[in-house]
């Protein structure tokens, strides 16, 4: 009905006398304004539905039926729209009365009156300036549409993040031994999620560098002037979801190392290395701990191990290898680079 895709840059004309109509059409067309002519009420109704930029009509054309069709159209306009009306009046008619009548008949409209004979320059500049105002309305319409789209997307994301937090909460609670431990673990996981969200947001919806995700996750565990945590690898641009998942996995590895592994002693070291092969479409990551207390396989797997297994399996399409080496924990995984990287999006 309101022709939401209409460019609103054309002129709808209505004049009952053929010569008037042709004259108007020629004048406007020659000056670069697309024109469509309505010859009767039905045609007028159909053309109004296609969203003209402006309606130009002679006074003689405005019979009661035409007045009513235009009135309906004006009332049914969406919020952003205010179709301008240009009326050409004869010198002989009671101009003041007509203007008063039309402004009652057509609520919420901008009306512009010209007395015939009109000079070309006067009419053209009037229509052009009125069309410019109309194009600003079109911009507002487009902005409203974008806003609706954004709101929908935002709702989807908020729901998704709430579901994520709910899962973290339930899973943290499941394994918790004490309320303090639960609170610490839950807060740590939320902070990791919040930090990677900031990184993804700063990347402006584009790819996030793997090294910046690693840096971000490691920074809370860094001790000044030491190289307890080292990482090396080539530039890899991650998709947002892959960046989030990897950050949460690294968070689990790092907190585990701090509690039980290499970071629980001053001598312990963690090294994270990754390599890529674009020809083979492969990304491999390896986490190696050393110098910490002797490691043995836990009797049952906790949140961290289970999460890393589950998340890396879905991300890399193959499960990671987690080894409880006596010298230190090792975790390695490799899989298609294209599943994680935004450079080569998935087919």
């Amino acid at each position: 009905m309101d022709a939401t895709d209409s460019p609103l840059d054309w002129v709808l004309t209505m004049a009952p006398y053929r010569r008037d109509a042709e004259h108007l059409e020629t004048l406007l067309t020659h000056n670069g304004l697309p024109v469509r002519r309505a010859e009767g009420v039905q045609e007028l109704t159909a053309l109004l539905e296609q969203g003209p930029g402006v309606l130009v009509a002679t006074h003689e054309a405005l019979n009661p039926q035409v007045l009513e069709v235009i009135r309906r159209h004006l009332i049914d306009q969406p919020e952003w729209s205010e179709m301008p009306l240009v009326i050409l009046l004869d010198r002989a008619v009671p101009q003041a009365r007509i203007r008063a009548e039309l402004s009652v008949a057509w609520p919420r409209s901008r009306q512009l009156y010209y007395q015939r004979p009109v000079t070309t320059l006067e009419l053209l500049s009037g229509i052009q300036s009125i069309l410019l105002a109309r194009l600003r309305q079109r911009d507002i319409r487009d902005r409203i549409e974008r806003e609706i789209e954004l709101r929908r997307e935002l709702n989807h994301r908020v729901k998704n993040i709430l579901a994520s937090i709910s899962s973290i909460f339930q899973m943290t609670r499941r394994r918790a031994v004490s309320l303090d431990e639960f609170a610490d673990d839950f807060a740590g996981r939320l902070a990791a999620l919040a930090n990677v969200h900031s990184a993804v947001f700063q990347a402006d919806g584009e790819a996030v560098e793997l090294s910046s995700v690693v840096e971000l996750t490691f920074s809370p565990y860094r001790v000044k002037d030491t190289d307890r945590l080292v990482f090396t690898g080539p530039t890899v641009l991650l998709r947002q979801d892959a960046a989030t998942t990897l950050a949460l996995c690294l968070h689990e590895l790092a907190t585990n190392a701090l509690k039980y592994g290499a970071l629980s002693t001053p001598e312990g070291r963690v090294s994270l290395q990754w390599s890529t092969s674009h020809e083979a479409d492969l990304l491999s990551l390896e986490w190696v701990e050393s110098g910490g207390p002797p490691v043995s396989e836990p009797s049952r797997s906790g949140y961290g191990t289970r999460y890393i297994r589950s998340a890396l399996s879905s991300l890399f399409s193959t499960p990671p290898l987690i080894l409880f080496h006596p010298q230190g924990l090792r975790c390695s995984v490799s899989g298609p680079l294209s599943h994680l990287s935004s450079r080569q999006p998935e087919a």
Partner: protein, 129 residues
């Protein structure tokens, strides 16, 4: 749930790894078998030959768009029942014939336990073919 009943094999179509992780744990704690997950309809189709399951849990919005309903219909055509697991219950309701039920997010353990049993009934009836 009936403790003597054999475990069900469940596959999960979901693009949020944290939710997969959570549901995987519930399914295993219920004594069922978690048969894996995929984050898109395309990956489900790609891995389908390797999937041997009693039922599939299906999210509405996946990594390749709003493909959950298509996936559920695709599975139904191959004799595999689905249950929607989604925050978009209204969208799920638009496809009443494609899945056995809908579970809203966030997922509760008890609701999941109950609704998974629907796969058992379908399994019993489809085995006659």
């Amino acid at each position: 749930m009936n403790s003597s009943a054999p475990p069900l094999r469940i596959f999960y179509l979901e693009d949020n790894p944290l939710i997969v992780f959570h549901i995987e744990a519930i399914i295993e704690d219920l004594g069922h078998v978690f048969a894996g997950s995929a984050n898109s309809f395309a990956k489900l189709v790609g891995n389908f030959d390797a999937i041997d399951v009693d039922g599939v849990l299906v999210d509405i919005d996946l990594a390749d768009g709003r493909t959950g309903p298509v996936a559920a219909k695709w599975l139904r055509d191959r004799g595999i029942p689905s249950i929607f697991v989604t925050g978009q219950e209204a969208i799920a309701a638009e496809h009443p014939e494609t899945a056995l039920a809908t579970i809203g997010k966030p997922v509760s353990d008890t609701e999941l336990a109950e609704k998974l049993e629907l796969f058992r009934r379908t399994k019993a009836t489809s085995k006659t073919t």
